[in-house]
């Protein structure tokens, strides 16, 4: 996916994305990080076509995003938002089956393919034995997995995740990031996500985009991007870095 000179303004006085250009590499995990209000979620919403930029182009497979029909685009890219209202009286399986929408029309349905995709999505997210449970009865971590399962049922090549770990405790955070890794490594999905935790970003990403006030400050492989100087510049936080044999690179914030 090619992103060129994107400008987005929510209120026409201030640019929330100010000339952003980058390339999302196929088959890799790309993580967007940066302080609150830096425009990372906005960038993700531009990629998922939920936000139409004031100027600039986004193209996927050499075709401008706006030229895709809604369902055609939904087969290419799926997104899971940070917060989702939980509908009443809906089973996991039913919700996940909504992910099949782009593959069906009102008159034409392929039930065999649908159930195959739904089963695959439920298996990936470890929800097979809970498929008939009600959504309301689930924990936060399980709910987040259900929304991911719905996105997986779309069978898109790209999966976007907007702060997928924000409301989860540390156990579910790790579980979710491991799931993301598996989806990338075993099923070849291209992942684009927004994270807050810098150590998680280092550990789980192939490529990091660091943003500040609507612009990209640095991007590249984690160890090239996340340095003492960049952290100081972007977050105004002093940090030390350490290299552990098992963990790899990790950061400890010291103070402001």
């Amino acid at each position: 996916m090619e992103i060129q000179d994107i400008i987005v303004s929510h209120d026409n006085t201030q640019n929330h994305l100010d000339g952003v250009s980058t390339t999302i590499q196929k088959g890799k995990i790309t993580t967007i990080i940066g302080p609150n209000g830096c425009g990372k979620s906005t960038l993700l919403s531009v990629m998922s076509r939920n936000n139409i930029p004031k100027s600039g182009h986004v193209s996927l497979e050499n075709k401008d995003l706006i030229q895709y029909k809604p369902k055609e685009f939904a087969k290419k890219l799926a997104i899971v938002y940070q917060q989702n209202d939980v509908p009443k009286d809906l089973t996991i399986e039913k919700l996940v089956s909504f992910g099949r929408l782009p593959h069906n029309t009102m008159l034409k349905k392929n039930h065999e393919e649908d159930s195959k995709a739904i089963n695959w999505a439920l298996a990936c997210t470890n929800l097979l034995d809970k498929r008939h449970n009600d959504l309301e009865a689930l924990s936060g971590g399980e709910r987040q997995r259900v929304w991911i399962a719905m996105a997986l049922a779309q069978q898109s090549e790209i999966l976007c995740l907007d702060e997928p770990t924000t409301y989860l405790d540390i156990y579910y955070q790790i579980e979710l990031l491991e799931l993301v890794k598996t989806l990338n490594e075993e099923h070849g999905l291209t992942i684009v996500m927004v994270l807050h935790d810098i150590n998680q970003a280092i550990r789980y990403s192939d490529h990091i985009i660091m943003m500040k006030t609507g612009q990209i400050v640095a991007e590249g492989a984690p160890r090239d991007v996340i340095t003492k100087e960049v952290i100081k510049e972007v977050y105004s936080v002093d940090a030390i870095f350490n290299e552990d044999k098992k963990l790899g690179l990790y950061m400890v914030p010291l103070g402001i």
Partner: protein
């Protein structure tokens, strides 16, 4: 599953019982078996009267109840708001006013009444939507806007009738609902348009189910949320407009019935829409039958009975919100 079957069976049985009871009760009274016998007796003069007077009234009550209840389900789905009801938020009174207004000036358009009512309802619905959109269609805001719109259209209608009282004597039948003296031509109107609306509503159950998702999530699935909203709302307005034309404004049905129906059959619109139609038909038929028999020969309109039950019910729902 069994709960759903039991619920459907119960409502259908109750519906049949109240239909027979309603047809055989009133100034001409018949026992159950006497009635069934007379039903197949061509020359029975009492049956002639029942056929001409009570049958149309029963059919109109059934269809009006079904149409209003299903319109409530659709509006609640479209507005993602459990408190939406065509009567409460002014769609019915908008339909009533526009219909009355245009017919008074162009009586020749009488045959187009349902279309005019639809236009009025659509206008009121658009107003409510636009005015409460900014608040994210929050339930309370929508109700407040709706009540204001409803008051405005009801006021306009009343003012219009006071001004031209002698001009249009049939006007008052639009304001207060009364199912007396319905004819077979009323039946034809409500059955034709009502069936189109009800079948249309059922065909849209999949879209209604998808609207439980947040807009951005539904969009990310390639679902055209705006188009679905528009079409579902149009069917809802059609259903309430046609019942206004034939049965007048009856509030709270679209609020009460779907809420009770969800308790019995759940939230899946594939089951909810048909069940709501049956339960709504039952409720209005019962309300109308009670209204015309309880203090006979004086009649209490079904809309009055619905207001007496519905008002407290709305307060109950508001407290729960």
């Amino acid at each position: 599953m069994t709960k759903k079957i039991v619920s459907f069976t119960t409502v259908i049985v109750l519906l049949l019982v109240s239909m027979i009871y309603s047809a055989s009760t009133g100034s001409i009274k018949m026992g159950f078996f006497e009635f069934i016998g007379a039903l197949f007796d061509e020359g029975n003069s009492q049956m002639e009267a029942i056929r001409d007077l009570r049958f149309p009234r029963i059919i109109v009550a059934l269809f009006a109840g079904a149409a209003l209840s299903v319109s409530g389900v659709l509006l609640q789905s479209v507005m993602r708001n459990p408190l939406a009801d065509a009567g409460v938020i002014g769609i019915s009174s908008g339909a009533a006013f526009v219909q009355l207004f245009i017919i008074s000036f162009f009586p020749a358009l009488f045959f187009m009444t349902p279309v005019l009512a639809f236009m009025g309802g659509a206008f009121a619905c658009t107003l409510v939507f636009v005015l409460s959109w900014k608040s994210g269609l929050s339930p309370l805001k929508l109700i407040l806007v709706g009540i204001a719109i409803n008051a405005m259209f009801t006021g306009l209608t009343e003012a219009f009738i006071s001004l031209g009282g002698s001009l249009n004597t049939s006007a008052s039948s639009v304001v207060g609902s009364n199912l007396t003296m319905r004819t077979w031509s009323d039946v034809l109107t409500i059955v034709t348009y009502g069936s189109v609306g009800l079948i249309g509503a059922f065909a849209l159950f999949g879209w209604c189910n998808l609207l439980v998702l947040q807009d951005k999530t539904a969009k990310s699935l390639g679902f055209n949320v705006a188009r679905a909203r528009l079409i579902i709302a149009a069917v809802a307005v059609l259903l309430s407009a046609v019942s206004v034309v034939v049965a007048g404004v009856i509030s709270f049905v679209g609020l009460l019935v779907p809420h009770i129906a969800r308790r019995f059959v759940g939230y899946d619109h594939k089951v909810l829409i048909p069940f709501t139609a049956l339960a709504g038909a039952l409720l209005i038929l019962v309300a109308d039958t009670i209204g015309r028999t309880i203090v006979a020969p004086i009649e209490i309109p079904a809309s009055t009975i619905m207001a007496i039950i519905g008002g407290p019910f709305l307060i109950f729902l508001l407290r729960k919100e």
